[in-house]
C-alpha cells in the first residue's frame, strides 16, 4: 500500500512536470507561419501601413529627456522599448532642431527646447536594430531565425539611407530649422542625452527655414 502511494505520487509529479514542460502543435501550422520571409515586401508594408502611425505617436524628445532624467526606471518603462534584460532601450522621438554643422557621415544639430541640447543626426552609418526595435513593429518571437530579424533591420536602415537621408541631406545646411521624427538608442544605466544619435525617419523643413 505504501509502495503504491509512493508510485502514485511519483506518477502525478511526473505528469505535472511533463504537462508544464511541453506543448504540442501541428508542424504544418508552425511551418506556414515560418515560411521564407520576403523581406522587401514585409518592410514595404510595414513602412507604408504601420510605421506612419507609430511616427505620429512618437514622444517629444525634450519631454522624454526630462522624464528620463527625473523619473528614472519608471520613465524608461513607460517610454522605451527593451528587448531583453539589459541596459539598452529604444524609442521613437520627435522634435525641432537647427543644423549646427554638416559632416561627411552625419549632422550635428541643436534640439530646440527650454534647454536646448546637442544631438547627432545619422545619415550614413545607419546600422543595427535601433529603428526596428524603437518602432515596436516587429514581434521578435514570431520569427524563427535571427537572420530574418537582421534582414528586416537592414532593409529598414537601407530605406533611411537611400530615401530619407539622401533626399533631405542636401537641404539641411547649417542654420536650417527642421522637424524630425527618428529612432534613438539609450543606455538605462549610463544616460547621456547630450550624445544621442538620431536615426531620421521623417524630416520636414520648417517654412521659416533658418534661425
Amino acid at each position: 500500500m505504501k509502495k503504491l502511494l509512493k508510485y502514485g505520487i511519483g506518477i502525478v509529479l511526473l505528469g505535472a512536470a511533463l504537462y508544464n514542460s511541453v506543448y504540442i502543435k501541428k508542424l504544418s501550422s508552425i511551418r506556414s507561419a515560418s515560411a521564407k520571409l520576403d523581406v522587401n515586401n514585409y518592410v514595404d508594408q510595414l513602412w507604408k501601413d504601420r510605421l506612419p502611425a507609430k511616427l505620429d505617436s512618437a514622444v517629444d524628445v525634450s519631454i522624454l529627456k526630462n522624464a528620463l532624467e527625473t523619473g528614472g526606471s519608471k520613465a524608461f518603462d513607460q517610454y522605451t522599448n527593451a528587448l531583453a534584460i539589459g541596459n539598452y532601450r529604444y524609442v521613437l522621438v520627435k522634435g525641432t532642431a537647427i543644423v549646427d554643422s554638416v559632416h561627411e557621415d552625419d549632422l550635428l544639430i541643436t534640439i530646440q527646447s527650454a534647454q536646448p541640447f546637442n544631438a547627432t543626426l545619422q545619415t550614413e552609418f545607419v546600422y543595427g536594430n535601433t529603428l526596428r526595435d524603437a518602432s515596436r513593429l516587429v514581434d521578435l518571437a514570431a520569427f524563427p531565425n535571427t537572420s530574418d530579424l537582421n534582414s528586416i533591420s537592414e532593409a529598414m536602415n537601407e530605406r533611411v539611407r537611400s530615401q530619407i537621408a539622401s533626399e533631405w541631406r542636401p537641404l539641411l545646411k547649417p542654420g536650417v530649422r527642421f522637424e524630425f521624427t527618428g529612432a534613438i538608442e539609450l543606455n538605462k544605466e549610463h544616460l547621456h542625452f547630450d550624445t544621442i544619435e538620431i536615426i531620421p525617419v521623417r524630416i520636414k523643413i520648417s517654412p521659416d527655414a533658418g534661425r
Partner: protein, 329 residues
C-alpha cells in the same frame, strides 16, 4: 599539559577550517587598499554574478573530489546542456511524418538540460565503476565526447535570441541580488545538505577517506560514485543554463577550461584531492577567491598574461598548504 596540547590542536583545526575565509578577507582588504573601485556594492554583485557559474560547477566537483575522483568533463557537459536548453527552447522537437511539433516551455528546457547533465554524469560514474577506468581518463573521454556532441547539435553555430524570460535566469535580479547568485546558493545549500545531513553524504566522505574500509562496512560504492558523478553533471548543467541565459545564446565553445577553474576552487577551498576531506562552503570560498582575484587583477590593470601566472601561483600555494597540513595531521 595535555589539556593545553588539545587546545592547541583545536585552535589549529579551527584556523585550518577557516583558512579560505581568512585568505578571502585578506585579499579583499588588500584590493580595497590598492584600488577604490574594488570595495563597492556594484563590484561585489558583479563578482558574485561572475562567480555563480563556477560555484555551481565547483560544488559538483567537490562531491566528486571528496570521493577521491575527478571530473574533467564538466566544461563540455555545461556547453552541451546549455545547447540542449537553447535548442529545445528555440526549435523544439519536430516529427515531420506525424505532422507534429513539440515545443518546450522554460520549465521544460531547464528540466531537460538538468536531466541531460545527470545522464552524462551517470555515464561517467558507470564507466568508472563498471570498467574500473580511472576517473581522470573516463571524464577526459567524456570531455571530448560532450564537446563533439555539442558541435553536432549546434552544427558549430550559436543558438541565439532565446527571449526575455529565459534571459532573466542569467541576467535578471531578485531582491537586488542577481538571479545566478540565488541559483548558486540553492545548489550549494543542496550539496551542503547532502554532505552534512544525509547518508549519501557520509558515504561520500567514507569512500574518499578509505575506499577499502567503506567497502567492508557495506557501502555500495558503485551506486554512490555513480550518484555523485550524476549530481556533478546536473550541477554543471545548471551552470550551462546560467551561461546560456546570460549570453542569450548557446555557444558551442562555451565552458572551455571551466573544469580547471572548478578544480582550482575546490583545491583553494581546502578540499583534499586525495578525497575524504573538505567542505562545500570551502569550495564556495575558493570560487569567490578566484573571482575576486580575477576582478582585482583587472581593476589593477594587470596584464592578462600575468593574471594567469598569479592564478596558477595561488592554486599551487593552496595545494602546498594542503599537503603540509596533511603531513602535520
Amino acid at each position: 599539559m595535555s589539556g593545553m596540547s588539545e587546545t592547541t590542536i583545536t585552535y589549529k583545526q579551527r584556523i585550518k577550517s577557516l583558512q579560505s575565509l581568512i585568505a578571502l578577507v585578506v585579499l579583499c582588504i588588500l584590493l580595497s587598499v590598492l584600488t577604490d573601485k574594488f570595495f563597492t556594492t556594484d563590484n561585489g554583485l558583479n563578482i558574485l554574478r561572475q562567480t555563480a557559474v563556477n560555484i555551481c560547477v565547483a560544488t559538483g566537483m567537490t562531491l566528486v573530489v571528496l570521493t577521491a575522483g575527478i571530473d574533467l568533463s564538466v566544461g563540455s557537459v555545461l556547453a552541451l546542456c546549455g545547447a540542449i536548453a537553447a535548442g529545445l527552447l528555440k526549435n523544439g522537437w519536430v516529427f515531420p511524418s506525424a505532422d507534429l511539433y513539440i515545443g518546450f516551455t522554460i520549465f521544460g528546457v531547464l528540466l531537460a538540460a538538468i536531466i541531460a547533465g545527470g545522464v552524462l554524469g551517470w555515464f561517467n560514474g558507470f564507466v568508472i565503476t563498471k570498467f574500473k577506468v580511472p576517473p581522470f581518463v573516463a571524464t577526459l573521454a567524456m570531455l571530448t565526447i560532450a564537446r563533439g556532441l555539442t558541435m553536432l547539435y549546434t552544427k558549430g553555430q550559436p543558438i541565439s535570441n532565446l527571449g526575455a524570460k529565459f534571459a532573466f535566469i542569467g541576467a535578471g535580479s531578485f531582491l537586488g541580488i542577481p538571479v545566478p547568485v540565488w541559483i548558486a546558493l540553492l545548489v550549494v545549500l543542496l550539496a551542503a545538505f547532502i554532505t552534512k545531513q544525509t547518508r549519501l553524504g557520509r558515504y561520500i566522505y567514507a569512500i574518499g577517506g578509505n575506499e577499502t574500509a567503506a567497502k567492508f562496512s557495506g557501502i555500495n560504492i558503485p551506486k554512490v560514485v555513480i550518484m555523485v558523478y550524476a549530481l556533478a553533471g546536473m550541477m554543471a548543467a545548471v551552470g550551462g543554463i546560467i551561461v546560456t541565459s546570460r549570453l542569450d545564446s548557446a555557444q558551442p565553445n562555451a565552458g572551455v577550461s571551466y573544469e580547471l577553474d572548478a578544480i582550482a576552487a575546490v583545491v583553494i577551498g581546502g578540499t583534499s584531492l586525495s578525497g575524504g576531506r573538505g567542505t562545500v562552503w570551502g569550495t564556495v570560498m575558493g570560487a569567490i577567491i578566484i573571482g575576486v582575484l580575477n576582478n582585482g587583477l583587472v581593476l589593477l590593470n594587470v596584464s592578462p598574461f600575468w593574471q594567469q601566472v598569479v592564478k596558477g601561483g595561488v592554486i599551487l600555494l593552496a595545494v602546498i598548504i594542503d599537503k603540509i597540513g596533511n603531513k602535520n595531521d
